[in-house]
């Protein structure tokens, strides 16, 4: 793991502003910074979502993210790479995931950020369970199903 990598798996909210500041600190050589933030949506598969819980596989999670970042570094010339992922209970509009990448080159920053997200979505051991409003007005918990489109996105990096 590079000393310019940061991987955080946390149960409490994280602060995108602080993450951006950390990415930029002393990174004078890197003119480009691409970031992605995924948040809890209030709607999924036709139902209103009120809450989300994220289960993960402690140990493998960090190992998986470190491997994805190492592969990104082998493909592109990158400066800092920060990946933050929430686990546990979350509310609508809270941030789930942050990926931030700096590079001297804009295309490398964009590509690496998107590559890390694409692989994270299909490989990193996180599972979402959402609480939705059922039709009868009651609340219902359900595991979120994986999307075939996420697997299809991986093909562009093959």
């Amino acid at each position: 793991m590079s000393s310019f990598d940061r991987i955080i798996v946390c149960e409490t909210p994280f602060d995108v502003a602080a993450e951006y500041a950390a990415l930029q600190r002393g990174a004078c050589a890197d003119g480009a910074c691409a970031m992605f933030v995924g948040s809890v949506r209030d709607f999924n598969a036709g139902n209103g979502v009120t809450q989300l819980a994220l289960e993960h596989y402690p140990g493998m999670t960090e190992k998986s993210l470190a491997g994805i970042i190492a592969d990104a570094r082998a493909r592109w010339g990158l400066g800092r790479v920060h990946v933050i992922h929430r686990v546990g209970a979350m509310q609508v509009n809270e941030e789930i995931v942050f990926v931030g990448v700096t590079s001297p080159h804009r295309q490398a920053a964009f590509a690496a950020c998107q590559y890390i997200m694409d692989r994270l979505k299909t490989e990193a051991p996180f599972w979402k369970r959402e609480t939705v409003h059922a039709e009868d007005g009651a609340s219902e918990e359900r595991w979120v199903d994986a999307r075939a489109s996420d697997t299809a996105e991986l093909e562009k990096w093959a």
Partner: protein, 81 residues
């Protein structure tokens, strides 16, 4: 001893998150079959083609060999991010 973990929907379906197997040797597929022989109700969930397998915290195919001290995990497709 082999440590076997289950996550997410599969953990709920099997009613447990962890089992331990003594004196096992063979592939992950053989380990899965051994578990289903011990718990026939697990077969419908654990032998589903969608279930992913990890050996010592790395994604692997089910023909990988398992040895004493290993950690094997079974789980549904991931849905993070």
């Amino acid at each position: 001893m082999v440590k076997v973990l289950f996550f997410a929907r599969l953990r709920q379906q099997l009613g447990t998150g962890e089992v331990r197997l003594e004196n096992f040797s063979g592939s992950i597929a053989a380990l899965r079959d051994a578990l289903c022989d011990q718990n026939p109700a697990w077969r419908a969930h654990l032998c589903d083609d969608n279930i992913r397998t990890a050996l010592n915290q790395e994604l692997v195919a089910t023909d990988c060999a398992v040895a004493g001290g290993d950690e094997v995990a079974f789980f549904p497709p991931v849905t993070g991010g």
